[in-house]
């Protein structure tokens, strides 16, 4: 499964595979990440997300397949190429006995950022809202603050492409939301972000989403496209004052633009899958009137991404 190739892709992989002995961590992964987008790489823990990121950053060499990041094989990256990449590692790896400022300063030196960098570092601290904590030791920071400090350290050399490995893992939903606000701002500044997450709901914040499961990329699409692919179309919920009879449901399912069976939510409410919700809703209204059903509501539904993900996994299992 792969998305469309465009001229402005910053990441391209073809049949990328990584094995550790007999264990295949990533299998035949083909995808493209367009410049300036937020690419969400979603999947449960241990599905191969971090292994993929490690191959894309050059930490791992692939077992087979080809990959190109910013137009080059990461194995052949020059220092200049490496300087265009920012990598946020899953765990906190900065130094607990250094302050926020010292850690940031270390990261800046480490990436060879000019000594006249105070202004930039201050801006970064403002960006991640840690200015007030600049003199605090990293070991005294909360989990969320540590993640923000790591993000600032990843940004210190102003990289074109950011690989963020589970940046929101283990932090509360409010802070998670805040992180996605940061990511949006970074995108607005022209950065491309490759974000891995196990929180399926975070797919909604991405421009493109890749779904990983057991080392395989099951699907790549926009968040809406993902829903559509998962359910085979748009989901439309019909709520009537009277209950729909078995015969009526049968007729509803037989309509040409309705796919699959009608899903009974309760006596009054039923969900149907259609090609295009906007086109189908007026026709469905007419059908209800013809059936003498009094429609309370009829609207397109956005199933939670958790359900979408489960659906995709079920489809994959059925496919296997």
């Amino acid at each position: 499964m792969k998305n469309d190739k465009t001229a402005e892709n910053v990441v391209e992989t073809q049949d990328l595979t990584k094995s550790f002995g007999t264990d295949v961590a990533v299998q035949s992964l083909s995808m493209y990440v367009p410049r300036g987008k937020i690419f969400g790489f979603i999947g449960p823990s241990g599905c191969g997300k971090t292994t993929t990121v490690r191959m894309l950053t050059g930490y791992y060499r692939p077992t087979s397949g080809t990959l190109s990041v910013l137009g080059k094989d990461p194995a052949a990256f020059s220092k200049s190429d490496q300087g265009k990449i920012g990598y946020l590692i899953q765990q906190f790896v900065l130094y607990p006995d250094l302050t926020v400022w010292e850690n940031l300063n270390f990261a800046a030196s480490f990436y060879g950022v000019t000594p006249f960098r105070r202004g930039r570092l201050n801006k970064l601290l403002d960006f991640v809202e840690l200015s007030e904590h600049r003199n605090k030791l990293a070991r005294d920071l909360s989990g969320g603050m540590k993640r923000r400090l790591s993000l600032a350290a990843t940004m210190v050399h102003n990289p074109e492409l950011l690989f963020l490995d589970e940046p929101t893992a283990g932090i509360d939903p409010i802070l998670r939301r805040k992180f996605w606000d940061y990511f949006k701002k970074l995108q607005e500044q022209g950065h491309t972000l490759f974000v891995t997450t196990q929180y399926v709901g975070e797919a909604a914040y991405c421009d493109l989403v890749g779904v990983m499961y057991e080392g395989r990329l099951l699907m790549i699409a926009t968040p809406e496209g993902l829903r559509k692919k998962a359910y085979g179309g748009d989901v439309v919920g019909i709520k009537t004052t009277e209950g729909m009879s078995f015969e009526q449901r049968h007729q509803l399912a037989a309509l040409p633009f309705v796919h699959g069976k009608v899903k009974v939510i309760d006596a009054q409410e039923n969900d149907v899958i259609v090609d295009e919700a906007s086109a189908a809703i007026p026709t469905l209204m007419e059908w209800c009137q013809a059936q003498k059903l009094n429609v309370e509501t009829i609207e397109e539904k956005s199933p939670p991404f958790d359900d979408v993900f489960v659906k995709i996994i079920e489809m994959e299992a059925a496919h296997d």
């Binding site: 490690r54 950053t57 050059g58 930490y59 990461p74 220092k79 200049s80 490496q82 300087g83 990449i85 990598y87 590692i89 765990q91 790896v93 900065l94 130094y95 006995d97 250094l98 010292e102 300063n105 270390f106 800046a108 030196s109 480490f110 990436y111 060879g112 950022v113 000019t114 000594p115 030791l137």
Partner: protein, 433 residues
């Protein structure tokens, strides 16, 4: 090129800040070694161990005076605990650690000697330490020599006294021989023989005169010995061990710092970042070398200052040589430490390796045992330790006032450079693989 220096500087700032942020660690690093040296000086007084000695003799009255004289002469090493007549009692006191040495004097030594046999003294101890046993054997040997000397002196004095009448007779014989020769008619065939006898008797008389005129102590002990070091300074135990202690401490500090450095980063996960960032293994290693060298040069300076100013440890050579020796020791020790760090999987493993190296350095660097006493193959191990070179270089500079030996300097520098290359390759492999 500027970025190269910026990247190296990142470690300089980071490592120093991390260490200076721990005042207790700094205090331990500076005062710890100084306190160890002070305690070492206090623990070992500048004198030999005294041995509580019990004599056993069937005739205590005969030997009382001689034993007293002996223990008086060697009061710094022997404390007389008296003469016992019961050997078993003396040995049981030895077993109970109430005495250190039991010397059994034979029952009738003079009769044994007169029978043309050696009278043997038996010396008992309860030591297990080979060095202490060696020390006791030396003391016993000194004791026997002293007894022999005193006996000879007594005999000599007796001989000198007895030779008085002999000389008188000899002089009479010479006079008679002279008279006989003068009375002989010219051309007598026996004149020549008589003159020879006269000459022999005169020579004998001269020798006897000399024998009688020399002090009995000189006759028995004609050669004495006087030893002097060319530095002209008599070193205390602390003074002698100070260079070795400084070397061991600096080596251990360097190795431990370096050993924990990379392994800790590998464990924390930041090595993953190093691998994908625009920093090379060489820059990382160089940055770490410089930061730890900077820190340890300061520590070495403070420790040296404390040793010289408070413990009054002398540095007879010049400061530049001292600094050069310390610098190359630190450089090489860091190389060893980084090597440990690169082959260790955990902090604990790195600490264990460092401790093993410290132990090896204590036993094989010549800290306690002279390298010249070692068997040949083991000296290879000894000369692969930075401390072996460091101790010799600092002893030369501090105690002998000499310069750093070029051979020693080249040897340790070669090891240091070797480790630099190996560490770089290992780190490169770690960052590239």
């Amino acid at each position: 090129m500027i970025k190269f220096f910026i990247r190296i500087s990142s470690f300089l700032g980071k490592e120093l800040t991390e260490i200076f942020r721990q005042p207790k660690l700094i205090l331990t690093l500076v005062l710890g070694p100084f306190l160890i040296m002070s305690l070492f000086g206090l623990a070992y007084p500048d004198q030999s161990r005294t041995l509580r000695t019990t004599f056993v003799s069937a005739n205590p009255d005969t030997f009382q005076n001689q034993m007293a004289l002996f223990t008086e002469s060697y009061s710094s090493t022997v404390v007389d605990q008296g003469i016992e007549t019961d050997k078993d009692l003396a040995l049981s006191r030895l077993a109970l650690n109430e005495t250190d040495l039991v010397i059994i004097i034979p029952d009738a030594p003079f009769e044994t000697i007169q029978n043309n046999q050696q009278a043997e003294l038996e010396v008992y101890h309860n030591e297990v330490d080979p060095f202490q046993i060696g020390y006791i054997q030396t003391i016993a040997s000194i004791y026997v020599n002293e007894v022999n000397r005193r006996l000879l002196q007594t005999v000599t004095e007796q001989g000198q006294a007895d030779s008085g009448s002999l000389q008188s007779n000899l002089e009479t014989a010479i006079e008679k021989t002279q008279a006989l020769r003068q009375a002989m008619p010219p051309g007598d065939a026996n004149t020549e023989q008589v003159a020879e006898i006269e000459n022999d008797l005169t020579g004998l008389n001269e020798n006897l005169t000399m024998f009688r005129s020399l002090a009995s102590g000189i006759l028995v002990n004609p050669f004495g010995v006087k030893t002097s070091g060319i530095s002209g300074i008599q070193f205390t135990v602390t003074g002698f061990f100070a260079p070795a202690v400084i070397v061991l401490l600096l080596q251990h500090l360097s190795i431990t710092f370096a050993a924990l450095s990379i392994v800790r980063e590998s464990r924390s996960g930041i090595m993953e970042l190093f691998r994908v960032a625009p920093i090379t293994a060489f820059e990382t290693l160089l940055g770490k070398y410089l930061s730890y060298l900077f820190l340890e040069v300061i520590l070495a300076g403070v420790i040296t200052w404390l040793a010289v100013s408070l413990l009054k440890i002398p540095i007879l050579g010049n400061g530049q040589d001292y600094a050069l020796a310390v610098f190359i020791l630190l450089f090489t020790s860091l190389g060893v430490g980084f090597f440990i760090s690169l082959i260790s999987e955990t902090d604990t493993q790195a600490v264990q390796y460092s401790m093993l190296l410290l132990l090896a350095s204590i036993f094989f660097s010549g800290f306690f045992l002279d390298l010249r006493l070692m068997r040949e193959p083991v000296t290879i191990l000894a000369w692969s330790l930075p401390a072996t070179y460091g101790i010799r270089m600092l002893q030369d500079v501090m105690l002998r006032g000499a310069s750093v030996s070029p051979t020693l300097f080249q040897g340790i520098a070669l090891i240091g450079l070797g480790f630099l290359v190996v560490d770089w390759l290992l780190l490169k492999r770690k960052m590239d693989s």
